[in-house]
């Protein structure tokens, strides 16, 4: 994926994340931060999909910088991390996977149901694992290096 493709993916996922952020009533001053969190996660995901084939591994790797960024924003901007995490995770979350699993299930395609269902659960597990991992790091790692709260 060259730089222009990356930029394109970045912009589209920024737009998508922001649109759902607005639908979730994110405060207006946090719009850009929310969009950035989502776009960062998605671009890393796309990069990972270039170098290997597992969506689960790509999700796990992508959620790490995403959660770290969300924590940074939460500290910097004095807002609950939920804001950035809930919006930012949106592009990675296996919504389509749940739909496909259920669709195969009701159309009696049992083998596809099992394959898609297992993948969906693993992706959700990978995302949750990555999130919990970054959230359990000590909070001083995410303190801003400069700015008001660093002076305290």
């Amino acid at each position: 994926m060259n730089i222009w493709d990356s930029l394109y993916q970045f912009l589209v996922s920024f737009g998508g994340t922001l649109a759902f952020g607005i639908l979730f009533h994110v405060p207006r001053r946090q719009y850009v931060a929310c969009g950035l969190t989502g776009a960062a996660g998605w671009v890393v995901y796309m990069w990972m999909m270039q170098v290997q084939t597992s969506t689960v591994v790509a999700s796990l790797v992508a959620v790490l910088p995403l959660t770290a960024l969300a924590r940074l924003f939460a500290n910097r901007r004095k807002a609950p991390i939920t804001l950035f995490l809930l919006c930012g995770i949106f592009p990675l979350v296996p919504g389509a996977g749940i739909y496909y699993t259920a669709y195969y299930f009701i159309t009696n395609q049992t083998d596809l149901t099992v394959i898609k269902g297992a993948e969906t659960i693993k992706i959700a597990g990978a995302l949750a694992l990555g999130m919990v991992l970054i959230l359990s790091l000590p909070s001083r790692l995410f303190q801003p290096l400069f700015g008001k709260s660093a002076l305290k």
Partner: protein
Amino acid sequence: MENCHSVLELAVQAGEILLENGAEVFRVQQTMEIMAAAYGADGFHVYVLTNGIFASMQEDGKNQVARLENVPQSSVHLARIDAVNTLSRQVAQGQVSMEDAFARLEEIRQIPTLSLPLQLLACGAGSGFFAVLFGGTWPDFACAFLAGFLLQLLLWQAEKNHVNKIITKLLGAALVTAVAAVCMVVGVGRDMDKIIIGSIMPLVPGIAMTMAIRDFFNGDYLSGTIRLMDALIIGLSIAAGVGAVLTFAAEWGVQL
């Protein structure tokens, strides 16, 4: 220590706002404990589920006061969560009196939701962008935008009339699929699958599923199970909605 009843009442009200607007279980619990401690409560215990709050408090080490609150899930409103968070920060620093805190909570409850036109545009744009993100083309963006736009209109109507959640999702998925099918027949859409996935994004419980597993990792097994069941049921009803329309289309011999 302030009046035991009002401390409990305040904490429960704050927790209720957080929970019904989409905050995580452990955050609700944490915020309630912080607020109760700030007003000098010592024997304060709280247990939070995805759809309920149980809290109790001791007065002078003998009288027990308890509150039970049923909190049905409504839509996500992050601005309200942000506001409660700010309030609890200030309460913890001892800057807010009890009366002010109650007044602030009432203000937070009144933070408006988005106007309908904005909701429609946001949902349309989100659907369109995700159709492109999942590999669709820009004509698909237009189709998904239309589908998402109409979907939000349906969701809004359904919420106003208190339609059952599962029926709402089923109808929403059916609507989206019908719009995608019409777009394909007219010749605007390029990839029907991408249009459908993009515009069911507002419906699918991807976040619920991920947060369910996160609840498990935090040891909140009951809350995780509630969320997981929610995700499964909603997933099934969406698939049923899409499947019904596709089956009818095939029956009527529509080439998609």
